[in-house]
């Protein structure tokens, strides 16, 4: 699933490892989500949204509807 994780991360000058540490997951997990190869579960998507102080829809794009 396409997402804005890389942009949001860059805005905060976080590396993938920084984000992984904050989410309590591995760096490979962040990379897989960021590149759209792995879709996170709803709890992890909410955790991302809380961390970036935004909504899930603002991070992940519903490919059926295009970016919100």
């Amino acid at each position: 699933m396409k997402n804005r994780l890389r942009v949001l991360r860059a805005e905060r000058e976080w590396s993938q490892a920084d984000l992984a540490q904050r989410l309590e997951v591995s760096r490979q997990s962040v990379n897989a989500i960021e590149t759209g190869k792995f879709d996170p579960s709803l709890p992890l998507a909410f955790k991302l949204a809380r961390l970036f102080e935004t909504t899930i829809e603002a991070i992940f794009m519903d490919e059926g509807q295009g970016p919100s």
């Binding site: 591995s26 490979q28 990379n31 190869k37 996170p40």
Partner: protein, 137 residues
């Protein structure tokens, strides 16, 4: 030794498996000595069944620990990778055993002892893990 591993669940899994491996080694040495010096060299009946079943116990233990690790691992991507690997291992060993069984029946291939099934399962799971992981690089 395990301090560099970031996942607490993986660290616990490796510690459990290491302790179990050491215990199995110790128990197998003691069992070998008992069989060598105190029991008949050609066990039969219940004793033979017991001797045959004993090596399966650490296999069951290792599989249970793998299940516990899957339940404890909070990183869903790592869980996904492991589940895919275990499916690959299961598929690989089923395919090989089916083919080998047919080769034994039809082409008189040498007999494959079932004791090799478990290590072969992990060989296939390991190969599968690396194949799955390359998809996410």
């Amino acid at each position: 030794m395990f301090c560099s591993i970031k996942s607490p669940a993986l660290r616990r899994y490796l510690i459990r498996v290491s302790i179990m491996t050491a215990l199995c080694f110790l128990i197998s040495v003691v069992a070998a000595l008992v069989f060598q010096f105190f029991l008949p060299h050609d066990p039969h009946g219940a004793l033979a069944y017991l001797a045959a079943v004993l090596p399966a116990l650490p296999v069951i233990g290792a599989l249970v620990y793998t299940g516990v690790y899957l339940a404890e691992e909070k990183d869903e991507f790592q869980r996904y990778l492991l589940v895919q690997s275990l499916l690959g291992g299961t598929g690989g060993i089923l395919a090989v055993l089916t083919a080998w069984g047919n080769m034994e029946d039809i082409a008189n291939a040498p007999h494959l002892d079932l004791i090799y099934v478990y290590p072969l399962f992990w060989v296939f799971a390991g190969i599968s893990y690396h194949l799955v992981k390359t998809r996410y690089r």
